[in-house]
């Protein structure tokens, strides 16, 4: 093991890993996050704490990590390149590690245009690819981003990244994934999968190049609450594909929420059986964390392995 991350241990054990997402609130209380952590603690190996997702100001991912860690859930700290320059990023990387965080997920971040501060200035001093490389270098070569030596107590993160098989240009998505793996990514969480056929094509290319043997890929699963939400995402969120059949199924359902949960379960079971190269699931039940336990259980992913 290169780090103290539990997620790393689970992934290296060869069992399917399960991660979830806990979205911090737009206020200064961590109680809700702790409540969600209590709910998830036995059902996931680790949980992402988003970093002012969709560019809306929320409790920071590191502070959120402290809250859920208190409740026994291992945090995956998300770090976007949108809000911090390389000095602030490294300060947060050191700080997060000092607070016991062991997983760091590097991503570009949603543009501020759609958030609650559209007039802010974005930073993008480094991009996600560079962040992956530099966090790995902090750990493996004990170097700051500048190349200066970290004399002691270097942060030893298990480094993650994201991949979006539904964005364009499609052919380049596998290249970019490989580039992230070359840069140092050790686990990958994908964008929410609704278009299974496209995901399978993506994974086929991944396997052809043996990328699944060099990195742990966790498939992104999102249960949908309503056909309107599904349609909205498909039409308005750039980089997401929601097939019409899925929208129709929700529309025809007597109990759409139930149907949404069933569909998520079907997807996971389908991937487990049919899509080789996937090493785990990242269940993003946005503002619907309470459904995660049922999904995990009914996919045969409960109880979670004990790796300590």
């Amino acid at each position: 093991m290169k780090t103290e991350s539990k997620l790393e241990k689970v992934l290296n054990s060869g069992k399917f890993a399960v991660t979830a997402e806990i979205g911090p609130p737009k206020h200064a209380s961590g109680d809700g996050m702790k409540h969600h952590a209590d709910m998830l603690v036995d059902y996931v190996d680790a949980a992402n704490i988003t970093d002012s997702q969709t560019a809306i100001v929320r409790i920071s991912s590191i502070a959120g990590g402290v809250h859920i860690k208190e409740k026994g859930v291992e945090p995956i700290v998300q770090m976007t390149c949108r809000d911090r320059n390389r000095i602030a990023m490294q300060a947060d990387i050191l700080g997060a590690y000092s607070l016991g965080m062991r997983n760091l997920l590097c991503l570009s971040g949603d543009h501020q245009k759609f958030g609650n501060h559209p007039t802010s200035k974005n930073v993008y001093d480094v991009d996600s690819m560079q962040l992956i490389h530099l966090v790995r270098r902090m750990r493996d070569e004990k170097l700051f981003f500048s190349g200066e030596e970290i004399k002691e107590n270097e942060p030893r993160f298990f480094v993650g990244a994201v991949a979006n098989p539904f964005a364009d240009p499609f052919e380049f998505r596998v290249d970019r994934l490989e580039k992230k793996v070359e840069a140092g990514a050790e686990f990958i969480q994908t964008q929410c999968i609704f278009d299974m056929e496209r995901f399978e094509r993506f994974m086929e290319m991944v396997r052809e190049r043996g990328i699944d043997e060099r990195v742990h890929i966790l498939a992104g699963i999102t249960p949908m609450k309503s056909w309107r939400a599904a349609k909205y995402i498909g039409n308005n969120v750039s980089g997401m594909i929601v097939p019409d059949a899925l929208v129709q199924r929700l529309k025809n359902a007597e109990d759409p929420k139930r149907e949404g949960i069933e569909m998520a379960i079907e997807q996971i079971n389908y991937i487990k059986e049919n899509v080789k190269g996937v090493h785990g699931f990242h269940v993003m039940a946005i503002a619907w964390e309470e459904v995660v336990p049922e999904i995990v259980e009914r996919c045969g992913l409960y109880p979670r392995p004990n790796v300590d």
């Binding site: 390149c81 949108r82 390389r86 570009s108 971040g109 949603d110 543009h111 245009k113 759609f114 974005n122 993008y124 001093d125 480094v126 991009d127 996600s128 690819m129 560079q130 490389h133 530099l134 981003f145 994201v162 991949a163 979006n164 539904f166 964005a167 364009d168 240009p169 380049f172 290249d175 970019r176 490989e178 580039k179 070359e182 840069a183 964008q191 750039s238 980089g239 997401m240």
Partner: protein
């Protein structure tokens, strides 16, 4: 060239509210080409301000002049005789020109008539687009001649990010994704392997982050 656009008449008028006589100085450089601060725009702005003030019963006297360039001290000198008896100077140059005028006539109230937007080129008549972010360390040879610094909304050097779809950027369906353009161009050139090379973080000290930059050509200096 530098692309600029005129501020609203209200905004400009409010900057010279208490003046009775003003000099409007156009610039025959970039802002003439982008139709923001040339001779015609200078005259039209002067007339508009006069009309506005007449309607408010506070008549304004205007003098107009167009400098060859406002970013060169030599051409600012030509303003001297016009500046003397006005209460304020309205510069229709880019931000550089406004500062040169203010610096030369330090006891005058000098105000900008334009918002200086970017450096770019024309797309159609009356339409311009930003093409360079003035980063000071050009990478166009690595990106198929398409600037990721300014044409990518996140200035990503190892793009495209996960928001690129159907050739467009996540921030607008009207905005091309620079990295899709880069990908297409590199593919057409048979150079996709170049995009697999990791691009390290940029040295922003060569950009605006090191304070005002200077460019020196000693071989052409006179003393």
């Amino acid at each position: 060239m530098i692309i600029a656009q005129q501020k609203s008449i209200q905004d400009i008028a409010s900057m010279i509210e208490d003046c009775n006589k003003v000099l409007l100085v156009g610039c025959a450089g970039c802002v003439t080409v982008c139709l923001a601060g040339g001779e015609k725009e200078t005259e039209v702005l002067a007339a508009s301000l006069r009309i506005k003030r007449r309607l408010e019963n506070k008549p304004l006297e205007t003098v107009t002049f167009v400098a060859t360039r406002q970013c060169d001290p030599e051409y600012i000198e030509t303003l001297e005789s016009y500046v003397k008896d006005v209460d304020a100077v309205i510069s229709l140059a880019c931000g550089v020109g406004v500062q040169y005028v203010a610096e030369r006539f330090s006891d005058k109230w000098v105000v900008p008539a334009l918002n200086t937007n970017f450096i770019g080129g024309s797309l159609n008549h009356g339409e311009w687009e930003e093409r360079c972010g003035l980063c000071g360390d050009c990478v166009l040879h690595r990106t198929g001649g398409i600037c990721p610094i300014i044409r990518c909304s996140k200035s990503i050097l190892n793009g495209p990010c996960g928001g690129s779809q159907y050739g467009k950027c996540e921030i607008s369906k009207d905005m091309d994704c620079a990295w899709q353009l880069i990908y297409d161009r590199m593919k057409a050139l048979g150079k996709l392997d170049k995009l697999m090379e990791y691009q390290p973080p940029k040295d922003w000290s060569k950009s605006r982050d090191g304070g005002p930059r200077r460019a020196v050509r000693e071989d052409v200096m006179i003393d």
